[in-house]
Symmetry: C2
Subunit: 157 residues, 2 copies
């Protein structure tokens, strides 16, 4: 059984593990969804303010999402998300890097209108763990609300 609303506690940080940024996938994503030269063209990217070919911010979000889906959402009572209040890409992500992602529980509250639903405010974050010269560089930070069903009450118990 996966996460239900009752399993989230404000202040907790859930480790979502590490993700390798695959160069080919990063490029394919950028060519399809975010074809800016610093995301698709190594030569143009080297001359850009970003300092080299780097990931679309949406790709960084998508990688975080997969880590969160595997660690938290699988088998959970998730009912999706209405959105969030902040999103930041404080530094570029380069191909071949490894990121560590996390989900920090900021707030938990029962829905006023739907008693079987709870709202969990989460701060997602990814930071570099490899290569050594970029360890700890934060590359993604965002805050959103996750909707989770409460655990069903067992009748007769």
């Amino acid at each position: 059984m996966g996460y239900a609303f009752e399993d989230f506690t404000a202040g907790d940080t859930i480790d979502l593990g590490t993700t390798l940024v695959d160069r080919d996938e990063m490029l394919a994503f950028a060519r399809r969804f975010d074809p800016q030269p610093f995301h698709t063209d190594p030569v143009a990217a080297a001359d850009s303010v970003l300092g080299g070919l780097c990931a679309s911010g949406w790709f960084t979000c998508a990688l975080w999402m997969r880590a969160y889906a595997d660690a938290v959402l699988a088998g959970s009572t998730s009912q999706g998300s209405p959105g969030g209040s902040e999103i930041a890409w404080p530094a570029p992500v380069f191909p071949g890097e490894t990121l560590r992602s996390s989900a920090r529980v900021i707030d938990v509250r029962r829905s006023g209108s739907r008693p079987t639903l709870g709202l969990v405010t989460i701060q997602g974050r990814s930071a570099v763990v490899e290569p050594a010269d970029r360890v700890g560089v934060e590359v993604l930070r965002f805050t959103f609300v996750g909707m989770f069903g409460v655990r069903p009450t067992v009748s007769g118990s």
Copy 2:
């Protein structure tokens, strides 16, 4: 020549055109990045609060981004984005729908520290234009800052 900082005026809304939500691509994206049952499994999705198989919010963002890249960023002086202040997925997106996207210019200001850079605050938005029974339903709204170089001054002029 594409957009430079000087081409953005607060209050303007830029039409980014329409995008068809392709079912196969929507499913492939969800399986890779957001494998929740209501994004990947038509049977489970029919039973969910979302009412049917629907797009990952990140896929909706990615489709908006491609429309914005084609209409605004191509050939522009874009230097990326540090992030934004709000993201909302007010309603689900279903496969086969057509969305119209837009970029509304909220604010423009020159960078204090880098005189050749300008910061443009943009509200991105996507809403359904087909099918007829969902026309006008807003499915994505978010606000972010785009960094754009100013137009080079022509020396001697």
